[in-house]
């Protein structure tokens, strides 16, 4: 087996073993991440009781927010908080002394966590779909493949966005505050609280020039049938690739400069 495959297999295995020690904490965190789309669905379900809202009926909202719960679980990015702690407490030191960059541990950690929690969300979705036909999705392997690609790109963008922001801890103690600010803004601009089509045009146009829609709304709409035409697919994937390149470049710049600026506090 290739050296890097062995490394990733070992890192993912360790992350799973550690996660097993924190089963309850992970279950609560997962539940918390599902709570937000569940509340949003409850609100829009109630609003749509009088009829469709700009073309969105109750069934559309149900499918959309189930999609949000799944995609959010698959693209979550918490690395900024870890990096901030590593830099401030000196836990970055032994990671820098290893022959692999700390980013690989973070990627493996993401793979381990997301594979497990997303599979739980998928199973729950399937069980709910058995009893509640409105959240059933048509059998469309082609669309699912495109969805998988869109989710992979979205996860990569969110990861690099979070990682690059976290690396600002090399300079400032407010890196996590910046991440929380982005998280707050994404509530509206990524489609977490409402489908982007329902946002005021001014807000939707701001969202259109940022990365937020590409990390949540776009993959969800690929899955639920909101993205239909080839132009919509091309625009969506092109946007993802562009933002991936932007955050990759940001990560490289912040890493290279940050590591030179690092004070290596503590032992």
């Amino acid at each position: 087996m290739n050296v890097w495959l062995r490394r990733y297999a070992a890192l993912v295995r360790s992350a799973w073993l550690v996660d097993l020690q924190y089963r309850a904490a992970i279950a609560i965190w997962m539940l918390w991440n599902v709570t937000e789309p569940a509340i949003a669905l409850g609100i829009w379900w109630s609003i749509a009781s009088q009829g469709a809202v700009q073309g969105f009926g109750r069934d559309d909202f149900a499918r959309y927010f189930f999609g949000v719960a799944l995609v959010n679980q698959l693209t979550l990015a918490w690395d900024a908080w870890y990096i901030d702690r590593w830099v401030r407490d000196g836990e970055m030191n032994f990671r820098l002394a290893r022959p692999i960059g700390p980013v690989h541990e973070a990627i493996a950690d993401n793979i381990a966590y997301k594979a497990r929690t997303a599979s739980v969300v998928l199973v729950v979705w399937m069980l709910v779909a058995l009893a509640w036909p409105v959240v059933r999705l048509p059998f469309a392997p082609g669309r699912w493949a495109l969805f998988a690609l869109a989710v992979a790109l979205a996860a990569a963008i969110r990861f690099l966005n979070g990682y690059a922001t976290g690396l600002l801890a090399f300079w400032t103690t407010r890196a996590t505050a910046l991440m929380e600010l982005q998280f707050g803004i994404s509530l509206f601009l990524s489609g977490r609280i409402a489908p982007l089509a329902l946002l005021p045009p001014a807000v939707a146009s701001v969202a259109g020039v940022l990365w937020f829609p590409y990390v949540l709304s776009f993959p969800v709409e690929v899955l639920t049938g909101g993205v239909v035409t080839p132009e919509q697919y091309v625009r969506g994937f092109l946007g993802q690739v562009c933002w991936l390149a932007v955050w990759w470049a940001a990560y490289r710049v912040v890493w290279r400069r940050g590591i030179r600026h690092y004070g290596a506090v503590g032992g």
Partner: protein, 330 residues
Amino acid sequence: MPAAIVAERLTKTYQVKVRDAGLGGAVRALVRPRYREVRAVEAISFQVERGEIVAFLGPNGAGKTTTLKMLTGLLYPTAGRAHVAGFTPWDGGSAFKRRIALVLGNKQQLLWDLPPEETFQLNQAIYAVPATEFQARRDELVALLDLAEVMDKPVRQLSLGERMKCELAAALLHRPEILFLDEPTLGLDVTAQEAVRGFLCAYRARHGATILLTSHYMADVTALASRVLIINRGRLLYDGALQALVARMAHTKRLELVLGDGVSREQLAAFGEVREFRFPNAVLEVPRDQATAASARLLASVPVVDLSIQDPALEDVIRRAFAEGTEGGA
């Protein structure tokens, strides 16, 4: 053969934000931040030959750990050069990091919730150690450090001494040629300290490893190091053999006595400075060049059951070296 570690005028300065106390100070720091330059390490130069064990000594904040971090590539120096195992540490990449190990006494790399074996296996993959070699090295380290009993216990349930021994084992599985140890016996009880020291000596004897360590425990220094580097306020004050430092800095000798009946403190004071007097034990301090003559006079005129001539405690010697700013070395 080139030296294992070469530091040439290695310097590290930090910009530290200065803030006055109180709310006003906090607001002023926000509006008009002020910075002060702190020289953590100032133009220090030294070499460590292959297979040498060298102790880095200095009070807290002297610059020892900063130097260690520059030599392991964690920190970029502000000025100066370094070569470690033939690499420039901060540009050495993974090839360099496979040849060194860094153990930090107050930070651990062991996976806290899992048995040490899991960290060992993770390090096997990270350092790409072939399976057969890994098994042999693991077994050797487990035997040398007496770890068989703890290999299946979660790290969080191990004692501090057991954890440090596991840290050392985890850091050495890739068989590094140079070990950087920052306070490896910090907080350990005497037995655990001795176990760690014994292991380091044995490891160096078996594999010819070069060791640069920092420690506050003089017992580490005397047991392990043939040479010491003394650093204070970022400047290298002394680089040389431990015995030469003692000879240079210790202007006195200690006469440790077990006295016969009836000897008083006042009687002893005629032979030197009485540092301790707890009958029948006493310690006299006399000028180094008069130690033999003073001992002879003492034995001739006072009932003495036992007498030994000792160098002053190493702690005192080092403290004096910090205070006097000793230059050069042996």
